[in-house]
Amino acid sequence: MRFTKDHEWIELDGDVATVGITAYAAEQLGDVVFVELPGVGKALKTGEGMAVVESVKAASDVYAPLDGEVTAINDALSGNPETVNQAPETDGWFAKVKVADTAALDALMDRDAYEAFLATL
């Protein structure tokens, strides 16, 4: 699993990456009440908004960690947004993305590096 400084996690399987927000992000956001996911087929560009997470008092953009195309989204989040708080790094995944260049993942942090990054915040 790889991580970004914007607190997203990416799990690669072949050339398809599953993307979600980290436990730290879910904790910081507080109780999530709504998740707006991208449409299947949407082309993603690194750093551009791909989803919006709303808690009771704030809406936060989630940025695409990689270039690629959305192949599936986690529809279960629309009825059960609390899954993002309960299981952010498993059942609370946001989207599956067909990655344009899997080598781009190498530039992202592994868990140790991410934990070290969190310690600096």
Partner: protein
């Protein structure tokens, strides 16, 4: 990522075991009744008025004519009257007590304003009356416009916007029209399509910019709570249409580099929109036009003491610089030897007007109240308003700093004092808990968790209309609470409010599973529907 530390659901159950109050048999508290919805009061078969049955000979509705009862609640006049008065008792209002919401300028609404607004020449007129019969009303609008232009040092004003955010929309539409006229519209080859806002901006600023069709980029903030000039300079460019900056800003601080901000913005070919929400701090002392502002809305319900809701809609006139004046929306008030008139169409001097902000001429009742406020204060009085508002905020900042941590301790603040939650570290009490405990002590809370750039923010704006005695009473309650939090009396906060009509609300549940429709529970009433 937003991480202001705001909890949104009760941490303790708030059940009777935690209740400081002995539960009553009826749910009432003292003489405050547990109020039902109006649909749950009375019966369907009652009415408070005695109307003659209307006789309809024919209807054009055919089989669309309703045959079922419409299900309106049936109440006698005293039942209806008591329902609404009881509800009003549960409301907080500026006529009841201090209302310290930051960036809201909840000042007293003078009764003189109300007297003037109720004069039949202002209150009983219709926007479609011939202008020859409303010359006085038009003259008042013209005088109000004169005062607003004079106080801001700006050459033009659009009176019609009906609130602060509506004013932002008006200002950005004028800016968009100006860029379009210069060949840099959103659809042009070299569009100016981006608006810059600081991280401490009111949420309406980026929302307005996005609504108008602009991309929004954030400008970083310096450690002392102001716009980061280097970051602004980096983000300005030929794609930027405008910047939106509040001054004084939402940290309660004056943007000391505002003239340089304006210079950089103009040099990049962009316009400077100033959010005038905090104009109360500088009215009569600083003219935004002198600072290089191109457009600014003025919340009449803040600085000029008209009611915040309740008394009717708001008003957010927008002053415009020379560069934007010709794009101002119609109607314009014009006058010649024959008297006052309204330029309604985009022709003549108003040929480049971008359109209209509303069907008629704006909120006449608010214009009268604001003008009454201006005349009763005079130029010197308005200057003193700003001075006293800033003095009151600094007094609270100084007194409360004994127990609470100011977010920006260096130097004075403007009209509002901002604290963070560092002083609550280790107490187990959050900003939200503290605010709820304030309700128990008889004070409406301050603005919480805004601006977003300060953790656990508490933003207090007392306004100039509070006396020193009232400020002392308020500060005393907050200091007592602060000491209780530090002394470990956590239960006082976690279960609060104990004494309000309702206890702590579960905001998460309300957001996830909102109940938006009342459903009848009484079988007899269901049968009658």
């Amino acid at each position: 990522m937003n991480s202001v530390g705001r909890p949104t659901r009760p941490e303790t159950a708030g059940g009777e075991a935690n209740d400081y109050i002995h539960p009553t048999l009826t749910g009432a508290r003292g003489l405050l009744q547990d109020e039902a919805l109006i649909f749950e009061l009375g019966g369907w078969d009652k009415t408070g008025v005695d109307l003659v049955d209307a006789e309809l000979d024919a209807s054009d509705l055919g089989d669309l004519v309703r045959t079922d009862p419409i299900g309106l609640p049936g109440l006698s006049e005293p039942e209806a009257m008591r329902h609404y008065v009881r509800l009003s008792q549960k409301n907080h209002a500026i006529d009841l007590a201090l209302y310290p919401l930051g960036s809201c300028t909840m000042k007293h609404n003078p009764r003189l304003n109300e007297k003037a607004a109720r004069m039949p020449g202002f209150s009983d007129i219709h926007p479609l009356q011939p202008v020859s019969t409303v010359q006085g009303a038009l003259q008042l609008m013209d005088r109000l416009a004169h005062w607003l232009k004079t106080l801001t040092g700006m050459p033009a004003v659009a009176l019609t916007p009906k609130a602060g955010a509506h004013g932002e929309l008006c200002g950005l539409l004028a800016i968009r029209a100006a860029h379009r006229a210069a060949g840099h519209g959103l659809q042009s080859e070299h569009p100016r399509n981006t608006v810059l806002t600081p991280t401490s901006a009111h949420g309406t600023n980026p929302a307005t910019a996005a609504f108008v069709g602009y991309k929004v980029e954030e400008i970083a903030q310096t450690a002392d709570g102001r716009v980061d000039l280097a970051d602004l300079e980096k983000k300005l460019g030929p794609h930027v249409a405008a910047i939106m900056v509040t001054n004084p800003n939402t940290c309660g601080l004056f943007e000391r580099e505002v003239v340089e901000i304006a210079r950089l913005t103009h040099e990049a070919g962009a316009y400077f929109y100033c959010d005038g929400a905090n104009f109360n701090a500088i009215v009569g002392r600083v003219r935004p036009g002198d600072l290089g502002v191109d457009a600014m809305h003025i919340n009449l319900h803040k600085t000029f003491s008209t009611p915040h809701g309740g008394g009717g809609p708001g008003a957010g006139p927008v002053v415009l610089s020379e560069a934007l004046a010709r794009f101002a929306p119609t109607p314009w008030i014009v006058h010649d030897e024959n008297g006052f008139d309204l330029a309604e169409r985009a022709e003549g001097p108003a040929a480049e007007a971008f359109g209209r902000m509303c069907a008629f001429h704006g909120q006449m009742g608010m214009f009268v109240r604001a003008y009454a406020y201006m005349l009763s204060h005079g130029a010197d009085g308005l200057r003193q308003v700003a001075e006293d508002a800033v003095l009151n905020a600094n007094y609270l900042k100084a007194v409360l700093s004994a127990e609470m941590s100011p977010a920006f301790p260096e130097g004075p603040c403007m009209h509002e004092a901002l604290f963070d939650d560092a002083w609550l570290d280790g107490t187990g009490v959050t900003t939200l808990d503290f605010a709820k405990a304030m309700i128990d002590e008889g004070f409406h809370p301050m603005t919480m968790y805004f601006p977003l750039v300060v953790h656990g923010a508490m933003l207090i704006e007392p306004t100039e209309t509070e006396s020193k005695a009232e400020l002392d009473r308020f500060a005393d309650a907050l200091l007592k609470l602060a000491r209780a939090a530090k002394a470990g009396d956590v239960e006082r906060f976690k279960g609060a409010p104990y004494h309000a009509p309702l206890r702590r609300l579960d905001e998460t549940l309300a957001a996830r599973k909102p109940r938006l429709r009342w459903t009848p529970t009484d079988p007899a009433k269901i049968a009658a529907e």
